[in-house]
Amino acid sequence: MKDFAYVAAPDVATAVRAAADAPGARFLAGGTNLVDLMRQHVERPDTVVDISRLPLTSVEETKSGGLRIGALMRNSDLAAHPLVRTRYPMLTQALLAGASAQLRNMATVGGNLLQRTRCPYFYDRATPCHKREPGTGCAAVGGFNRSHAILGTSASCVATHPSDMCVALAALDAVVEVEDVRGTRRIPLADLHRLPGDTPHLETTLAPDELITSVELPAPAAAPSRYRKVRDRASFAFALVSVAAALEVTDGTVAAVRLALGGVAPKPWRAVEAERVLTGAPATEESFRAAADAELAPAVTLDGNEFKVELARRTIVATLRDLAREGSRA
């Protein structure tokens, strides 16, 4: 690990000031991702601003019937929160599908939003990686790419966004609240993460010194929802494919649907095309398949991840089928 200056911030103002004063500074919350990356020399900040003591750990109901979640809420606490469990079960399911109990006890909401990819080449400094070192190349394209993305990729980068939580947040239309020395602003989750394009090292639309302070969820929909994760073992593994979905069926027709995918794209992937196909369509297996096909039509595969297209199709269909059945029971 490289030497760095350490600033323990007692309040948000100090934290964002410290970050503004030290270009390249990183905020340290749970440390489950940043410390790992620093030990691997992938992240080499000169300054680490410790925000773990900031009072950003509350869950409050908003006037519009939603929830505002403090950015330093631990994953395990958020998953267990009664309002989250009852109103946003998809989010609880996504959180509990992520990592291990030990990591969830440390990892925070804000940190999870900014979690970096598990692409092995991103971690391996002996290989080219545009995300780690812009302009060097991408070793994953011709390498071990079984876990890599099939949607939203570019010639520069095929890495996936690793978070489970974010997939649920994408489906839920979450809004991220951020603060810097200039003030605060709100960013819809869909606009927080960028696609790689030619600049895969720029993963979000945040300014380097902007601090995520909370995440706001709009009022919950009545529709049944689900987070479904397909992985290589029963726990403690990244998603090969995951689906966050909520489906409202009225008289056999899809009245409303929210669908987001994980494990297949460089960002939490809101399946806009699938939603468009589904809305107003009969809630049948054929529609679900057509929606999945529409979403996956632009998929670009590599040598090792071709199976993800079929796996994603099946996971989408299975999840929607599940929800349709649940909705019709209700």
Binding site: A97, D124, R233, A234, A237
Partner: protein, 759 residues
């Protein structure tokens, strides 16, 4: 100096052979209080770090240690030119440099070592060593490596990139069969995935020698290789076993041993080296990945007529134990079956992939996956049940193996298969579902829909002990004396406790043979003779045999001193009828009785190089599995619902430990069946972490009903049969067969992943 590990193991409870006394290290390990080698500490010690090659194949044009030496806190930076003795080591034949000289042959090969006053300083300094590499094209495919035009990786090897070719020629070279099935099978590179990374502490001694505290499987093999590299006589290189956090073969080769000693001798200070998790993946050998091509011929009635096999084992950059692994795969390659005609060619090969060597099952695992897959195929072709075709051809006592060796003790293969077959089936999943019991588990995948059950069988044969004429022995020193008015036996061997429970077993044997309650197990070190390796399922047999033999000599001496009696029991000298003749305390008085015995099992023979004939294995061991799986065929997810095992252990010396071995071995087989694989691309490891290299968790392991048979082997101490490896063999093919049954897919590769079911 922290020595809690080994000293804590001297605590003893009761228990004789056949009992299951509590392990002395059990509570400590569960509570996190056991001192592993990574916990070693010495006042004023330095920390070592290793610079490794990022390239799988490169020429080293230049090395500059100057920038590393300039880092404050650095005490020494050493390279190949600093190796005091011979810069070569290796278990079978020395071909591996302690530190790379002019060429590196695998990614992660050590190039330079650093000692500094802080581990981070040492790591940073190591990163500053300048190495000028001329990158060479790596040879990464074993079959390509055997071609005449492949670059030769070890110019001194007379056979090019071939480490060993074992031929088995048995019976008719051109047999004809009614029914023929063939297939090509692949086994991925599995890691031992021990939890305690390579670590140890070297302490320079006043005599110019060194004391090395290290987690290893075989102290004397380390000592021999370290002394040679240091250019010191063996008696000045003293090894002491530190707390071992798992081994499974991965500690048979050297890792940091010579490096720590070199740094300690150079700096005159104790030096500790602990590998990180990622580094550990480069610090030890792995299981040989293999390609296996088989053809089985049988009569219409289902009698095997012949087996033909070609196996290619990728040994990676250095030989390690590839030759012995090749021998095992070949000699056990037809499986536990009576086959009149066998033709096997098994090749162990050098490549620029990570070195491969010992891992639980040692060549027999790869072969078992292939021949058991073939037996299922044969059953299908014959229209027989998988169990029936196996039982019909099962070896039994008196059968002849393809090497010509007669199976000369119990071989209850048919009975083992019947035991797992006849167990009641676990109930099919039904509502209300417990997600933990379904494929995908709590990931919220299937809730019972789309789940198809499959059942599969596997049976395997493993040799116990070192084979092919190896002088396989162990040494035990047993002392009987009066301490605090009580007779106390102390047992000293160099046998490595790697978690298998040997400390418990040695005390059980001493109690049984000497009739005393108090037994002290001394820490293993090289001040007593070699015990051989804690591998090949051999320590209960060989070190157990040595301890018993030493106890017998002590007992004979005590009885001679007493002038009467036929045995020792309850601290007394007793007659053949059990009458108390004298008190052991009085007979011993102030004069201890001590005997040291070097004990050997009956000798084995080398294989005939052209036919593979020979009495190569001292003992065969058998286990069978029935795997029941539920597969979410839509998403390609597998839940192993039950893994039933039956194994003959000859004598259950410690029944709890036997069950533990069977459970652990089966779990490692499950890992190979459905998830474990080191991903090597162009010679580079792509998943060197436990985040990316997946091993089964508690949620992946099923219930394991176990039957233990005890058919005594008259040649073995107490009739015992080695336990540790056989369950690792048959677990994998049984599970893959069950997945085939559920999915209808051919599945010729282990591990099976979702894409093989969905794709």
């Amino acid at each position: 100096m922290s020595r809690a590990t080994t000293e804590s193991l001297t605590a003893t409870g009761g228990g004789r052979v056949g009992d299951s006394p509590q392990r002395p290290d059990g509570n400590l390990k569960v509570r996190g209080e056991f001192a592993y080698s990574s916990d070693l500490w010495h006042e004023d010690m330095l920390w070592g770090a290793t610079l490794r090659s990022p390239h799988p194949h490169a020429r080293i044009r230049g090395l500059d240690v100057g920038p590393a030496l300039a880092v404050p806190g650095v005490y020494a930076v050493l390279t190949h030119s600093d190796v005091p003795g011979e810069n070569l080591y290796g278990l079978e034949h020395p071909d591996q440099p302690v530190l790379a000289g002019d060429v590196v042959r695998y990614q992660g090969e050590p190039v330079a070592i650093v000692a500094a006053d802080h581990p981070e300083t040492a790591r940073r300094a190591a990163a500053r060593v300048r190495v000028d590499y001329e990158v060479l094209e790596p040879v990464t495919d074993a079959e390509t490596a055997l071609r005449a035009d492949a670059p030769v990786l070890h110019p001194t090897n007379p056979d090019g990139n071939l480490v060993r070719h074992v031929r088995i020629r048995h019976g008719d070279p051109a047999p004809a069969a009614d029914v023929v099935v063939s297939g090509e099978y692949t086994v991925g590179m599995q890691d031992q995935a021990f939890l305690g990374p390579e670590s140890g502490l070297a302490v320079p001694a006043e005599d110019g020698g060194v004391d090395l505290y290290v987690a290893t499987q075989w102290l004397h093999a380390d000592q021999r290789q370290v002394a040679r590299a240091l250019g010191l006589p063996a008696e000045r290189v003293r090894l002491h076993l530190a707390g071992v956090g798992g081994a499974f073969g991965a500690r048979e080769d050297l890792s940091m041993q010579v490096h720590a000693c070199m740094l300690a001798l150079r700096t005159g200070k104790p030096v500790k080296i602990v590998y990180g998790r990622e580094e550990s993946f480069f610090g030890h050998v792995h299981r040989h990945p293999a390609v296996l091509r088989y053809e089985h011929g049988a009569t219409r009635d289902g009698d095997l007529v012949y087996v033909r096999a070609e196996m290619i084992l990728d040994g990676g950059a250095y030989a390690s134990t590839t030759a012995a692994v090749t021998g095992n795969a070949a000699t056990l390659g037809a499986g536990p079956y009576r086959v009149p005609n066998v033709h096997v060619d098994c090749y162990g090969v050098y490549t620029n992939n990570p070195p491969c060597g010992a891992m639980r099952g040692f060549g027999a695992v790869q072969a078992c996956f292939a021949y058991e897959s073939q037996m299922d195929k044969l059953a299908a072709a014959l229209g027989m049940s998988e169990v029936d075709v196996r039982v019909r051809n099962a070896v039994e006592q008196g059968s002849v193996m393809p090497t010509g060796q007669v199976v000369d003790s119990a071989a209850p293969v048919a009975e083992l298969l019947a035991l797992v077959r006849d167990r009641p089936m676990p109930p099919a999943p039904s509502a209300p579902y417990d997600l933990r019991e379904l494929p995908g588990g709590v990931s919220n995948t299937t809730h019972g829909e789309g789940v198809v059950r499959g059942v599969g069988y596997g049976v395997g044969v493993k040799n116990v002990g070192f084979s092919e004429g190896f002088d396989d022995y162990s040494t035990a020193r047993v002392r009987l004396e009066v301490v605090g008015g009580e007779p106390v036996a102390s047992v000293h061997t160099a046998a490595a406790e790697v978690g298998q429970g040997l400390v418990t077993l040695k005390a059980q044997i001493a109690r049984t043979e000497l009739g005393v309650e108090r037994v002290v197990i001394l820490p293993p070190d090289t001040s007593v003779g070699s015990a051989g390796s804690s591998s090949a399922s051999r320590q209960s047999y060989v070190t157990g045999g040595a301890v018993r033999a030493a106890c017998e000599e002590v007992r004979a001496a005590v009885l001679a001193r007493a002038g009467a009696g036929a045995g020792l029991a309850g601290g007394k000298v007793v007659s053949a009828g059990g009458d108390v003749l004298a008190d052991l305390v009085e007979v011993l008085g102030g004069e201890p009785v001590e005997r040291t015995v070097e004990w050997r099992h009956r000798p084995t023979e080398a294989l005939d190089p052209s036919t593979g004939k020979g009495f190569a294995h001292v003992q065969y061991a058998f286990a069978a599995h029935r795997a029941v799986v539920d597969v979410d065929v839509e998403l390609g997810l597998v839940r192993v619902v039950e893994l039933a095992c039956a194994q003959d252990v000859g004598r259950a010396m410690n029944p709890d430990a036997v069950l533990g071995q069977i459970q652990g071995g089966s779990a490692q087989g499950l890992g190979l069946a459905v998830m474990e694989e080191i991903q090597v691309v162009d010679g580079v490891v792509r998943n060197p972490s436990f985040t990316d290299y997946l091993i089964p968790t508690v949620l992946d392991m099923p219930t394991m009903p176990i039957d233990v048979l005890e058919y005594a082997d008259p040649h073995a101490p107490y009739g015992l049969r080695g336990v540790g490896e056989p369950p690792t063999l048959s677990s994998t093919p049984a599970i893959v067969a069950a997945i085939r049954a559920a999915t209808g897919r051919a599945l010729t590769r282990a591990p099976v992943r979702p894409e093989h079911i969905v794709g």
